[in-house]
């Protein structure tokens, strides 16, 4: 068995919504005790509708938000950012790519600076080498060295998502959290980005936590699948298990709701309509 890169044990996150003169304070249980394990070089896909807590889980795994309860282990090491300062070594291991490539890049920052910033913050690599590494990364994600001095608005959505992936990879992370990385992209561009992710995984042995609501993408990319519903993991298993025999009602609803683009289902629909 491979090394476990990421493990969570009963991880919980509550948000407290402050009360005011007219409103009582409220607690929202965003994630209610989720346990998962991801092996090195594998992809775990997390599926669920908006508001089910999948992005909150991603924020905890990326160590942006501390969990309210439960344990987070990265490469077998316990992490608790609520009580101790996060070491730069740890920050280097986990990186995130956000959903909207239009919102996640600073419009006033050149691409070269976008890529070099993680190195400035987390390492003491000299300027010359920083530049070199950024250049290398640009070609690795399928862009060109001439893009170094351009601004985000000069790129298409797919190119921006490549830049966001490049930025996440600058620190040679072990684990990459991808929060709906292709849902804002066109079909052909989506295919490119998915291929890029596959190539990078093969090259660097990366581990992915892939958040998505698109089941066809999940089926294509994932090794393991977790289905979340109202903050709970209602289904968790290998891709083939989950897709061939879904157990929970919500998973079944989800599968039934996914539009099918194969010839047989079109025939069946047209036959129903004619009847």
């Amino acid at each position: 068995m491979n090394r476990i890169i990421l493990e969570t044990r009963n991880i919980v996150r509550d948000y407290h919504i402050g009360g005011s003169l007219f409103r009582k304070p409220k607690t929202v249980h965003a994630v209610k005790g989720v346990s998962l394990k991801v092996e090195e070089g594998k992809t775990l896909a997390i599926v669920g509708e908006s508001g089910c807590g999948k992005s909150t889980l991603a924020r905890m795994i990326t160590m942006i938000d501390p969990p309210t309860a439960g344990e987070l282990l990265i490469e077998g090491e316990k992490v608790d950012i609520a009580h101790q300062k996060l070491a730069p070594e740890l920050r280097r291991k986990v990186q995130i790519v956000f959903q909207n490539p239009y919102g996640s890049l600073n419009p006033r920052q050149k691409i070269g600076d976008v890529l070099m910033e993680p190195l400035i913050i987390n390492t003491d690599i000299p300027a010359g080498e920083r530049r070199e590494r950024a250049m290398q990364m640009l070609t690795k994600v399928g862009l060109d060295e001439k893009h170094f001095n351009r601004y985000p608005h000069m790129f298409s959505g797919g190119q921006r998502q490549r830049i966001a992936i490049a930025r996440a990879l600058m620190l040679n992370p072990k684990l990459l959290v991808l929060d709906e990385p292709v849902s804002a992209l066109d079909l052909s561009v989506q295919a490119q980005v998915l291929n890029l992710l596959g190539d990078l995984q093969d090259e660097f042995g990366l581990t992915y936590v892939f958040i998505s609501h698109d089941l066809s993408v999940v089926r294509y990319i994932a090794d393991d699948v977790m289905v979340m519903y109202f903050g709970e993991a209602v289904e968790y298993g290998s891709r083939d298990e989950v897709f061939s025999s879904p157990k929970h009602d919500y998973t079944k609803t989800l599968f039934a709701a996914t539009p099918r683009a194969d010839v047989e289902s079109i025939r069946a629909r047209l036959a129903r309509k004619a009847a």
Binding site: D186, A191, H213, L254, A261, V263
Partner: protein, 285 residues
């Protein structure tokens, strides 16, 4: 009879670097009771061509067409007041972002009643009755209550239902749905598509479904137009399009679907680029 006929529609935008042609000679027609899907990537001109039909493009757009007729009346030759009598009444449109396309300052009841007042001239009581009826038809629970709700108090799916209620308020002959489910969850998408298809059959509406989701096309359309860079690549009935796509672009598009992946990589842009270089992306007739 053809409900909407468009021949050789061209839309150009004046930009700082000269005119930009967003729609380049599109011809299509929709019959009564038919669902036509327009598929294409962003920037393929699918929304722009329908906005041109609605007359909703900004003044920087130059719209020309050999013919753009709705039930035999040429839309290009109508005066603005005459056109406004058709738009929103006989031709209605549902937009992509339900929350952004409702006015945040007015209740949903007001926004539904606005259409009824404008086009049907109903009095207050009748308007309210009809609005409640419409909210019921689109499946919003306790409609009397919800008439007084503001868009921000509703979920995305509910806002889309309100948008649909506004669109079908005057029993339109033609409903244009511009990516009606793109911003919604899969389960909500299913509900909205089922609702649209039910209303379409009940009222025998003609419908144009603009989408980039091949799954949505497969689930709703009778006939499909594939668009790329403002041009029509292929037109076929839905079954033959999926069964035996004729045009190389359609083939590439279908093979880029993750569920159709062969091996562990998907065919991608180099393929699209060579496709463009190797063959003339002219219209298939």
């Amino acid at each position: 009879m053809a409900l909407l006929e468009i021949e050789n529609l061209v839309v150009e935008f004046a930009t700082a670097s000269g005119p930009f042609r967003a729609v380049d000679g599109i011809s299509l027609s929709v019959n009564e009771g038919e669902v036509l899907a327009i598929v294409g990537e962003s920037g393929s001109g699918k929304s722009v061509s329908m906005l041109a039909v609605m007359g909703l493009l900004p003044w920087t757009a130059k719209v020309t067409a050999d013919r753009m007729a709705f039930r035999g009346r040429d839309l290009m030759k109508l005066s603005s007041p005459d056109r406004r009598k058709i738009i929103g009444k006989d031709i209605a449109m549902i937009f992509q972002e339900p929350i952004a396309s409702l006015n945040p300052c007015f209740t949903v009841g007001f926004q539904i009643e606005e259409v009824l007042r404008e086009h049907l001239g109903l009095d207050g009581k009748a308007r309210r009755r009809r609005a409640i009826e419409l909210l019921k038809a689109v499946g919003i629970p306790d409609p009397e209550e919800r008439l007084g709700a503001f868009p921000h108090q509703m979920s995305g799916g509910q806002c889309q239902r309100v948008m649909i209620a506004i669109a079908i308020a005057c029993n339109p002959k033609l409903l244009i749905a511009d990516e009606p489910t793109t911003a919604l969850d899969v389960t909500i998408q299913k509900q909205i598509l089922d609702l649209l298809m039910r209303l379409q059959t009940e009222h025998g509406m003609g419908m144009i479904m603009i989408t980039h989701n091949m799954g949505v096309v497969a689930e709703t359309a009778d006939r499909v137009v594939v668009q790329y860079r403002g041009r029509k690549m292929e037109e076929a009935d839905v079954l033959s399009l999926f069964e035996a796509p004729k045009h190389a672009y359609t083939k590439a598009l279908l093979s880029a679907l993750p569920e159709n992946a062969v091996g562990d990589r998907l065919p991608t842009m180099p393929d699209f680029a060579t496709l463009e270089a190797s063959q003339d992306l002219g219209t298939l007739r």
